[in-house]
């Protein structure tokens, strides 16, 4: 059925949490309990040397994972160089290195 109208029904931009599968994130939380500990202060993204060029922000990576946007998260994480600056600034003392490596381990790209 071709669309003769010149416009179409666009998908909603609303994040529907009912449809988010938390299985992987729950496993991440087991591996690294600090996965839920971020309070979104943004220090990591502000200090990230890759952030200026690639938009990399560990806050956003975690947030995307928590909203079921795993592809975006994993793609963003490819910009991480594991320099450790985020772990220096994190006020919650999150072991960002362990967190990032745990994410990489669990959320492998197909």
């Amino acid at each position: 059925m071709g669309n003769i109208f010149g416009f179409s029904i666009s998908p909603s931009s609303t994040v529907n949490l009912d449809n988010v599968d938390f299985t992987l994130f729950d496993r991440l939380h087991e591996l690294e309990p600090d996965a839920w500990k971020c309070m979104s202060c943004g220090s990591c993204g502000a200090t990230c040397p890759a952030g200026n060029f690639s938009g990399m922000s560990l806050r956003k990576v975690l947030h995307n994972l928590q909203r079921g946007k795993e592809k975006e998260a994993v793609k963003m994480l490819q910009n991480c160089m594991l320099c450790g600056k985020c772990s220096i600034v994190c006020p919650r003392g999150i072991n960002t290195r362990h967190l990032i490596l745990s994410i990489c381990k669990l959320y492998k790209e197909d």
């Binding site: 059925m1 669309n3 109208f5 010149g6 416009f7 179409s8 029904i9 666009s10 909603s12």
Partner: protein
């Protein structure tokens, strides 16, 4: 759902609606979309209930569509509205009733703006005088036409020949009510029942025997949204909103939809055809759509007027399944006959959405 909780809110939002002597202004677009609706309103108010409703051929658009499409400045809309008020004043009326929801909202918004910026009112009075040598008094009461039918709902119920009841099963019909955004969202206290749980249409449905469906996207816009539709590039937004509403109401299997806005019934009716073409999906029983009505059309049906005199043949979604449920007799051959049985010719039937 706790019905008493809604009743409590409804009791908080009751407004004074004078019983008689109204200056009536029509909508720009309703006569094209639903040609019987406004005629039926006057028929019921004047001839069935014997009230005084005055209208004049001199009234124009309120400018609301252009205002909401951002194509004319606010002073222009205000001057147009000031002229309407002048017509009311000249005719000797104080109660102003609008057929259109957006006009209703427009009038309230302008009066509120003049209240907050009196210098603007002075300026508009000057502009009106310069433009057409007219002067006006502000209306004492402004109502939407659905407020009046709400007020007269029980009198209509007493005279009813049909009820919103499935004749075969005896069950109340399941009715979706949809309120135009400009009815009470801007000024909750100006709408019967407020903005979150408006009662104006629920009251009619209850009085005429139906049961009201409260579905998750009830408060959502019909999809018209002026700029969403009138700018062709935005039409996807328009239909996406309508689609969202239908997806949300689908599990409740509504028998019909009643609206009190010019745009809402149009878009909820016509977009069902477009959704059917795009998605292959229909929302009524057996491939039909969910019939969409204006409250005046429903009042007319309840009072026993002929469906084709009410202009129901201009609906996209076939109304016949609903007429059958209510036990209303109609002549299929006369559907596309005009005055004096003049043949109006038959429209082409759509491919997916089943129509009669």
């Amino acid at each position: 759902m706790i019905y008493q909780g809604k009743q409590k809110i409804w009791a908080d939002y009751q407004k004074e609606i004078p019983d008689d002597h109204w200056f009536y202004v029509r909508s720009c677009i309703r006569q094209n979309f639903f040609p019987g609706a406004e005629r039926m309103f006057l028929e019921i108010c004047r001839n069935v209930l014997g009230k005084d409703f005055y209208e004049t051929e001199h009234h124009t658009t309120c400018g609301g569509i252009a205002y909401h499409c951002d194509t004319i400045p606010q002073e222009t809309v205000m001057t147009i509205v000031a002229r309407q008020f002048a017509l009311m004043t000249e005719a000797g009326y104080e109660n102003y009733v609008a057929s259109c929801i957006t006009s209703f909202g427009n009038y309230l918004e302008i009066l509120e703006t003049w209240h907050e910026f009196p210098e603007l009112e002075t300026r508009i009075r000057e502009l009106l005088w310069k433009a057409c040598r007219r002067e006006f008094k502000k209306p004492k009461y402004i109502a939407h036409a659905s407020d009046l039918i709400y007020k007269y709902r029980n009198e209509i119920a007493e005279k009813a020949k049909f009820r919103l009841v499935n004749r075969r099963t005896g069950e109340p019909l399941k009715v979706v009510e949809h309120i135009g955004c400009h009815y009470s969202k801007m000024f909750p206290s100006k709408g019967v029942g407020g903005a979150e749980y408006p009662y104006v249409l629920c009251g009619m449905i209850e009085s005429w025997g139906g049961s009201v469906i409260d579905y998750p996207e009830r408060r959502h816009c019909c999809g018209y949204g002026f700029r969403q539709y009138h700018v062709k590039a935005n039409r996807g937004y328009s239909i996406s909103n309508t689609h969202k509403k239908f997806e949300s109401m689908e599990p409740y299997h509504p028998d019909m939809i009643i609206t009190n806005c010019p745009g809402c019934p149009y878009f909820m009716d016509r977009w069902q055809y477009v959704i059917a073409e795009m998605e292959g999906k229909t929302y009524g029983q057996n491939g039909y759509g969910i019939p969409v009505f204006t409250y005046e059309e429903v009042a007319g049906l309840v009072l026993g007027y002929d469906p084709w005199d009410l202009g129901l043949q201009l609906h996209q979604v076939a109304v016949e399944p609903l007429l059958d449920k209510m036990g209303i007799e109609y002549s299929p051959e006369d559907k596309y006959k005009g005055l004096n049985k003049k043949d109006l010719m038959r429209p082409e039937l759509p491919g997916v959405l089943k129509c009669c």
